[in-house]
Symmetry: C2
Subunit: 205 residues, 2 copies
DNA sequence: ATTGAATGCGAATACATATTCGCATTATGG
DNA sequence: CCATAATGCGAATATGTATTCGCATTCAAT
């Protein structure tokens, strides 16, 4: 952020600009998101935009940071320790994921679709770290008898698998597969995987 | 393709342009891939480029088509029916996936990273359809005793999970997780999932 | 009320890059 | 060889968009 807003009106403008950025990305897509349009939607001029954000990317970064907070808050509310049942726990996390992706009229969807050219990494890593923490707690509580030595790898796999399967489903497969079924199947896969002891592969029957 | 190349030299030029497109995307990234650079690398002029390709996207489409063939050929060579063991079969498919993503010096990686704004869908769908076919055959052969009613959903989940976990690993996590371990764990997850009967979730111990 | 700092403006500028077009060169059939 | 079509060229053009800058307006302290 180029300059720090000091007065009331400028703080409001910064807020309006960040909100407008989200709205424009959600409505026009990331590719058609221009500084001109953002300023217009925010009801300010392009010039003012550059008072507080070094460039367009700075604006987007600020948006991501704002959203990261939002997700963090949501994650902390997840009931992980209440359920003894692994599937139920995983299921609630997956439902939360779907809810986030569907919220804000597709803004999250557009952002994660373009994760590669955005500072999505910070959010993704935060998310993974959160799940890592949850998983650690869960296993400490319920699975003391068999150590999961490679929990990090498993959380990495599970996080990415679920996230991108959801995204692909929402953005392409509109209709052929019902979301409920997808959620159930994802839950099945993840719960079985996480509950299985390491370095053991079932033989085929 | 705007015009059909008739003479020898023009057919060679079209080939050179497609190859150059791949090379430039791989070396400069999709964002910095310009028609000027493509023409330069191909050793022809921009004007000539537009003789045979309506626009830049047409060129990229031609590239994708060419690569789709390459993948299709590779998939047909996969030994699916030889192994009775599910994990071995899944494992060989996953190794094939890694091999493709690593081939061509990161070209595939850059393409799939930007899957959303490219005609990757055709390739993705083809890939999924292939795996669907393989899965159907495999189950017909080895799992006649329990029907997998929702094979489509499962193949959808598995394909996307594996593909995007690989991509995330190759592009971000360079080092923290070894590729061998990731492949093994993915195999474990997928094999267990595909082998499990539908609508059944293990209770926690 | 005055004044200097903070804020706001948006036309003008800079830049990157896709696409065109008139002309030059090369191939092919007779 | 000639005539005609096919091919090839690349400077010039068109377009979209990020960023700047000189001037106008508003705030806040005295």
């Amino acid at each position: 952020m180029r300059k720090r807003p000091q007065q009331q009106r400028s703080r409001e403008m910064v807020r309006a600009l960040i909100d407008a950025t989200g709205k424009v990305i959600q409505q026009q897509g990331l590719d058609n998101t221009t500084t001109a349009r953002i300023a217009e939607v925010a009801g300010v001029s392009v010039g003012s935009l550059y008072q507080y954000f070094g460039d367009k990317d700075g604006l987007i970064e600020a948006l991501m940071e704002s959203l990261a907070d939002e997700i963090g808050t949501g994650l902390k509310r997840l009931p992980v320790m209440d359920n003894v049942d692994m599937a139920a726990t995983v299921g609630s996390a997956i439902r939360f994921g779907f809810a986030v992706l569907h919220s804000r009229d597709g803004l999250y969807l557009e952002l994660v679709r373009n994760w590669h050219r955005l500072p999505t990494n910070r959010v993704m890593d935060a998310l993974q770290q959160h799940f890592m923490e949850l998983a650690r707690l869960y296993f400490l509580r319920h699975y003391q008898h068999h150590q999961i030595s490679n929990l990090e790898v498993r959380v990495f796999i599970v996080t990415n698998s679920v996230l991108f399967t959801m995204i692909r489903h929402i953005s392409q497969h509109s209709g052929l597969i019902r979301e409920q079924e997808l959620a159930d199947e994802l839950t099945l896969m993840v719960a079985r995987y996480l509950a299985s002891p390491p370095d053991t592969v079932e033989e085929s029957p």
